[in-house]
């Protein structure tokens, strides 16, 4: 059974085994964390199990409190005036949506299936895309994907231009003004703070620990493991319950896989959407265009060389 292989206990065990194997290495890195694709780590969220207790939300807030922004006030005057400060520092206890101080929240959907109404709850956070547009299109290198499949934003580098949020198919990152590198550059004219989102507890994973939300969940809603195995498990569950999968193909594939007994378009219709509350819509691969054009860049010089040779032969006649 795959679920045994990637259970919480075996994940931790793998971490310690990896540490032992590394010997003098300072960090107890689980073997599965070190590899690049296809050993990327993914999480499986079985929404049947979630009871909406928000234990994951509280654990995330507690564990990541040291990463949360402590803005300098008053904020620098922004130019032009259309650039507005975004301040969540006085609303740190908001847990009903994503904010710079709340990287996971519980979304709720009441759907009618087979004649009766059922209410589902499920944690929502960054999907950790396999080819994340936020990291690819970040003009500053602040957002990046790690080899273990985590996409994180470096709060020491981010200027808060919000491009990552604009290009994210789920608009996940949230901005806090008055903090970060932009204050040291041209605070009134460039940047506007730092973008924050789930980093899937990269620092805990480095130590061989589980992400806080997974560890705290009393219902084992989330499981983490190599993506291939997570997908196999998701398909096994989906086949067993005649259910549905979200995240396998969305945006070309993500490292957050949801499995649900009801179709995701129904969940999408039922959830409250808007700022800080992501949708469950189908998502095309946002970077597919760029990936195809990158291949064409290899051919371009060859075409140029061929054209030059043809031109030379014509001149030489």
């Amino acid at each position: 059974m795959i679920s045994k292989q990637i259970s919480r206990r075996s994940f931790l065990k793998g971490g310690f085994a990896g540490a032992a194997a590394l010997g003098i290495s300072r960090l107890p890195v689980p073997a599965s964390v070190k590899g690049a694709d296809p050993k990327e780590l993914a999480t499986l969220i079985d929404i049947r199990k979630c009871i909406g207790c928000e234990a994951c939300v509280e654990a995330c807030q507690e564990t990541n409190a040291s990463k949360f922004p402590e803005p300098v006030k008053p904020f620098p005057k922004m130019f032009p005036e259309r650039v507005k400060a975004e301040d969540w520092s006085d609303k740190r206890d908001v847990s009903s949506r994503l904010t710079p101080y709340n990287w996971v929240f519980i979304q709720e959907a009441s759907v009618k299936e087979n004649g009766h109404k059922e209410t589902y709850t499920f944690p929502r956070r960054c999907m950790h895309c396999q080819n994340p547009p936020c990291a690819d299109l970040c003009p500053w290198g602040a957002a990046r994907k790690l080899k273990n499949g985590i996409t994180r934003i470096d709060s020491h580098l981010c200027l808060g231009g919000q491009k990552c949020k604009v290009v994210c198919p789920w608009h996940i990152p949230e901005r806090q003004t008055g903090v970060g590198l932009y204050l040291d550059v041209m605070p009134s004219f460039a940047g506007n703070g730092v973008m924050f989102k789930c980093d899937r507890c990269y620092d805990r994973i480095e130590k061989g620990l589980l992400p806080a939300c997974i560890e705290a969940c009393p219902e084992n809603v989330q499981t983490i493991g190599p993506r291939e195995e997570i997908l196999k498990e998701a398909h096994r569950i989906a086949a067993e319950i005649n259910g549905y999968i979200y995240g396998e193909k969305e945006n070309g594939g993500t490292n957050t896989i949801y499995v649900s007994p009801v179709p995701f378009d129904k969940l999408n219709e039922a959830v409250e959407k808007g700022p800080g509350r992501p949708h469950f819509k189908p998502v095309e691969d946002a970077m597919a265009n760029a990936d195809n054009l990158a291949k064409a860049m290899i051919i371009a010089p060859v075409v140029g060389i061929a054209a030059a040779i043809v031109r030379f032969l014509r001149i030489s006649k």
Binding site: R82, V83, P139, W140, V167, A308
Partner: protein
């Protein structure tokens, strides 16, 4: 960028030289559009320039422009090596341009590689590449303007002392 050996204006100087200038301008525009500045500073509000605030669109345009430029550079380099150098030699100004353009191309290629799935670089290296790409382009703009003012061309005829 004149590599044509014929006395009358060649295809390269009549057409490709203009294509090169337009492409460089276009790449500068779509490159700067990768930073979230055009919307902030109302440029994307100018009728007809709204596309400058569409990051995906300008990114695609930047890639298409890069494809065209890579083809053009390869064309010029090979034609010069095969034919042009017999008649023209590169000026010091040309070597300066070539070094700067090489920096832009090299850092651009690294950035494209980084954007491929499963390719990861350290944040500091990515930041260095981004800054080097942007910095090289700014230097090229300044240098190109100075060379234009002081009439420093790419090539000079080997048997002739004046710039072409």
């Amino acid at each position: 960028m004149r590599a044509g050996p014929t006395p009358k204006p060649s295809f390269e100087s009549r057409i490709l030289q203009k294509v090169y200038v337009l492409l460089i301008f276009f790449m500068g525009l779509t490159g700067f559009a990768q930073m979230p500045i055009f919307k902030r500073y109302y440029i994307a509000d100018i009728p007809g320039l709204g596309w400058l605030a569409d990051f995906y669109f300008t990114h695609t345009l930047h890639y298409i422009g890069a494809i065209a430029l890579l083809g053009l550079f390869a064309y010029y380099a090979v034609l010069y090596l095969m034919q042009g150098r017999k008649i023209h030699r590169l000026t010091a100004a040309a070597y300066v341009r070539i070094v700067i353009i090489s920096c832009i191309v090299a850092t651009g290629i690294i950035r494209v590689l980084k954007n491929l799935p499963d390719v990861t670089f350290s944040p500091r290296f990515t930041q260095f590449v981004d800054l080097a790409h942007l910095g090289s382009m700014l230097i090229l703009m300044i240098v190109a303007l100075l060379f234009l003012i002081f009439k420093k061309g790419w090539t000079v005829e080997r048997r002739y002392t004046g710039y072409l």
